[in-house]
């Protein structure tokens, strides 16, 4: 198992990938938070932010097909979550579906929440499409996230492939011995596999950590080609953040 297919556009040279990962994380966070903070009904402002996201995607040379493909999974989830709003928000009923009514307010909120979620999601998709996981961890460390958490992320990422392979091996071994027929037996088998996975995760973790200590690990994963801040990146980021704040604030002032 590997996530390498997720990182294929992280190596494409573009104005976005040349910027330090920290700047990319900050930019994506600014756009996502700015979009999510728009007041209900601020459609024009949402449109402007959507335009901004499209511009960033174009600058990052990430093809639209890739963005749409990676959006599909989370979008289905967001769609399901916002469908609840159709029925749960009180207002003048427009359409009746069985015992439930869809109100005008519900329909509006559904549309706007879905729009906000899609724009914020796209910003996050552009971030992960242009940034590899080690770069992401490096950015989080620069952003002063607790060392315990960034180390857990780095080691966890390293161990995850091993662990998932291990769990698959355990399941394959059980299947090849015809174990786990029927729901109850299968459940018991999965409990065993989960417990075994837990024990193996801890012993693997200890072993990996000892090996890393032997190779001079002092709590910081060094990067081969650390990208640093430059004036252009800092200025672009500053302009982007100011623009997003201005758009969001103006939406609040108008509403």
């Amino acid at each position: 198992m590997s996530f390498h297919h997720l990182d294929q556009y992280a190596t494409v040279s573009s104005p976005v990938t040349r910027a330090t990962p920290t700047a990319r994380v900050l930019a994506a966070t600014a756009i996502a938070v700015g979009t999510a903070a728009l007041p209900l009904g601020a459609w024009e402002h949402l449109g402007i932010l959507a335009g901004l996201v499209v511009l960033v995607a174009a600058a990052a040379h990430v093809p639209a097909s890739l963005i749409l493909r990676r959006l599909a999974g989370p979008f289905v989830f967001v769609l399901a979550a916002s469908t609840g709003l159709l029925f749960l928000v009180p207002g003048t009923p427009l359409i009746h579906v069985g015992p439930f009514g869809i109100s005008d307010a519900g329909l509006q909120r559904f549309g706007f929440v879905l729009g906000r979620a899609s724009v914020a999601l796209t910003a996050a998709v552009i971030l992960v499409s242009t940034t590899s996981f080690p770069e992401l961890v490096q950015a989080l460390r620069q952003l002063r996230l607790p060392g315990a958490v960034t180390t857990a992320l780095g080691l966890g990422y390293r161990l995850l492939y091993l662990l998932v392979d291990e769990l698959e091996r355990l399941q394959r071994a059980a299947r090849s011995r015809n174990a786990g027929g029927g729901t109850t037996r299968r459940r018991r088998l999965l409990v065993g596999i989960t417990a075994a996975g837990l024990a193996r995760a801890f012993s693997r973790g200890e072993r990996t950590h000892r090996a890393m200590l032997a190779r001079g690990f002092v709590g910081d994963l060094p990067s081969l080609a650390p990208k640093s801040w430059d004036l252009g990146t800092a200025l672009t980021l500053a302009v982007l953040i100011v623009v997003v704040i201005a758009i969001t604030l103006s939406a609040h002032v108008r509403s």
Partner: protein, 307 residues
């Protein structure tokens, strides 16, 4: 809907939950370092990888449904609550950044719900039950199962409250839809947590964080707390029985009246027991819920022991 996507929360709620999460995580970082010392890095990394991998396993629950482990309480029983909070935060963070499961803007809320309140609340239930009942094998398994279920319900209620505070959905229907959904998920989470803990306790007991036998004071405190909670629950149930409950309020708002018919099948329709009316109904209700939870917990523990 455990992971809130971006777009569902208002700016003040996003800011407030983020601030609360930062404060909670700061305490967790401090306490976890003291608890785990130099074991911290490998243990947190392993637990993070485990939670991710375990969430990929789907447990069949029967009737064509399946559930996956959320893992907060299970990891908590291994590493203690503070380290488990950091692990769940790492998981929530990766889910938001890498898989867009939960929004970046809603990260504060999701961290608060799953890492701080979910793990913290669940572990409080775990410790509380152990304080009440003592720390035997069965009791620990039953406590973990109940804590797993409780933690999932806490997450659901927190999500509903945040959605309501954001003015996205009114509180009553949000509680019914999100809280109710999580209550169902909680059953699966409780069973899986208890079962896996039982197996780990048998195979590798050194992995499970030891819980000291409760002191007389801790026991007294737990009993006092439980008495207070039961009294409160009876009071609340008594009050609720004279007002329309969340489901009825939601139904009334949605303009549904047919839902009343569902109560015909209930033994005490609209909570009027034959003896002593509403108060008696409230007492019976609380005792019944408590008994059912206790029986399920014991049954899970015994089955795992006999398996």
């Amino acid at each position: 809907m455990a992971h809130i996507p971006d777009g569902f929360l208002s700016a003040p709620v996003m800011a407030g939950t983020a601030a609360a999460s930062v404060a909670g995580l700061a305490v967790a970082v401090h306490r976890s370092r003291r608890h785990l010392a130099e074991r911290e890095a490998p243990v947190l990394g392993a637990a993070t990888a485990f939670v991710f991998a375990a969430q990929m396993l789907n447990f069949p629950l029967g009737a064509g449904t399946s559930a996956h482990l959320l893992g907060g309480v299970l990891v908590g029983t291994m590493l203690g609550p503070w380290a488990a909070m950091l692990v769940l935060f790492a998981v929530v963070l990766v889910q938001a950044l890498l898989f867009q499961d939960g929004g970046i803007g809603a990260l504060g809320a999701n961290t608060l719900n799953m890492a701080i309140l979910g793990v913290g609340g669940g572990m409080l239930v775990y410790r509380w039950i152990l304080w009440l009942a003592g720390v035997g094998f069965r009791r620990r398994v039953a406590a973990a199962a109940l804590a797993g279920a409780g933690s999932t319900v806490i997450v659901g209620v927190a999500v509903a409250v945040e959605l309501a505070l954001s003015d996205t959905v009114p509180l009553a229907p949000a509680l019914v839809a999100v809280g109710g959904g999580h209550a169902l998920m909680g059953i699966g989470e409780g069973v899986i947590t208890g079962a896996v803990l039982a197996m780990v306790l048998r195979a590798r007991p050194e992995l499970v964080a030891s819980v000291p036998s409760p002191s007389a004071w801790a026991r007294a405190l737990a009993y006092a707390g439980t008495t207070g909670a039961v009294t409160l629950a009876i009071g609340a149930a008594y009050l609720a029985s004279s007002k329309p409950d969340a489901l009825e309020a939601a139904a009334a708002r949605l303009g549904i009246h047919e839902i009343e018919t569902a109560y015909l099948a209930a033994p005490f329709a609209d909570y009027t027991a034959p003896l002593g009316g509403a108060l008696m109904a409230a007492v019976i209700g609380v005792v019944a819920v408590f008994t059912v939870a206790w029986v399920i917990g014991r049954a899970v523990a015994r089955r795992r022991l006999g398996a």
